[in-house]
């Protein structure tokens, strides 16, 4: 409760243009954001997080406070990733694909690409559920959607990922 109040106070201060307050907010979420960004794209993770913070800073006045700061900034990051990689050509790392013993690496690489192509509303749920270990109930509370919607989105997201991986199966 105390941290929630503190976050709200910091958000209010940040809305007034207080850079220090925004930096405090950044400190609270940077590790988690970077972790997700790193899982999706290890090469550009730092840039993605940096861009996310800048975009969040420039649009903090639009933040209505209906969700937590993390959920809001997380959505910004997922949208950024989606926009950045939506039209980008898929380039599998040749070294990984050529090495047949390294099937796990290949799977990870494909999943990474698939996650960048996934619509933010699906990739967000996948990352929350699989990478951050939130329960379906918690996700429904965070995203303010029904539990059934969370389940159906997870199912659809997995279906898309499966389709993507099968479609791009090189062997």
């Amino acid at each position: 409760m105390k941290s929630n109040l503190n976050e709200k106070f910091l958000i209010l201060q940040a809305k007034k243009g207080d850079k220090e307050a925004f930096s405090q907010l950044i400190k609270q979420v940077e590790k988690r954001l970077f972790n997700v960004a790193y899982i999706i794209n290890p090469e550009d993770a730092e840039d993605i997080v940096q861009d996310t913070f800048l975009q969040a800073y420039s649009s903090i006045k639009k933040f209505k406070g209906k969700s937590s700061f993390y959920t809001w900034i997380y959505r910004i990051m997922m949208n950024l990733i989606y926009k950045k990689y939506k039209r980008k050509k898929i380039n599998f790392k040749k070294s990984i694909i050529k090495n047949e013993n390294n099937k796990d690496e290949e799977l990870k690489e494909k999943l990474r690409i698939a996650l960048t192509k996934l619509h933010p509303k699906f990739s967000q749920i996948i990352t929350l559920f699989y990478f951050e270990d939130y329960s379906i109930k918690e996700i429904s509370e965070i995203l303010n959607i029904k539990e059934g919607t969370v389940k159906s989105r997870i199912f659809k997201a997995k279906k898309y990922l499966k389709k993507f991986i099968e479609k791009n199966e090189p062997f």
Binding site: K19, F22, S23, I26, K27, E30, K31, F34, N35, V36, Y38, I39, P42, E46, V49, Q50, F53, L54, Y57, S58, D104, L107, K108, K110, L111, R112, I126, Y130, F131, K158, L161, K162, I165
Partner: protein, 161 residues
């Protein structure tokens, strides 16, 4: 269906593990501050650029507006001058009198010239004919008279016959 997603779930689990392994203390605080400074500079620069673009557009439109106004003014002036030439309100009374006087003088001159021409013609006609010309003239008259008498005779003959 559950088995179908096994591969996906496995892959996601692997990604998560990798993420956890690579978890490191990373601070974006300084980077963010630097980036905001840069952004601020970029923002000011872009604002300045926008301002210049707007200013150029405004100047172009102002220029067009003034050109239009100037053309309109020119047209009005031309129309005004034509109107004035017709009505001649700009000519002062003195000028009017002068013009009248000049006109009068001109007409007098014309009249005088006409009069001179008339007089010259009259003089020409009133001069007596020269002797040679009179002789020639009488000869011509006589010829005509002779012809006339012959014609009369022919007519007389026909009438008798």
């Amino acid at each position: 269906m559950k088995n179908d997603f096994e591969k996906i779930e496995k892959g996601l689990r692997l990604l998560k593990e990798e993420g956890r392994k690579m978890m490191r203390d990373i601070s974006f605080f300084d980077k963010f501050l630097n980036a905001t400074e840069k952004e601020k500079f970029v923002f000011i620069y872009s604002k300045w650029n926008y301002f210049l673009v707007y200013l150029t557009i405004v100047l172009v439109f102002l220029n067009l507006f003034f050109i239009h106004k100037l053309n309109l003014h020119k047209e009005n002036m031309v129309a005004f001058n034509y109107r004035n030439i017709e009505n001649q309100p700009l000519i002062t009374e003195k000028e009017k009198i002068e013009i009248k006087y000049i006109k009068k003088q001109n007409s007098n001159k014309e009249k005088l010239v006409e009069k001179n021409i008339r007089e010259e013609k009259l003089e020409e006609f009133s001069q007596p004919l020269k002797l040679e010309e009179t002789i020639k003239f009488t000869e011509e008259i006589n010829k005509l008279l002779r012809l006339f008498t012959i014609n009369l005779n022919i007519e007389g003959n026909n009438g008798e016959g």
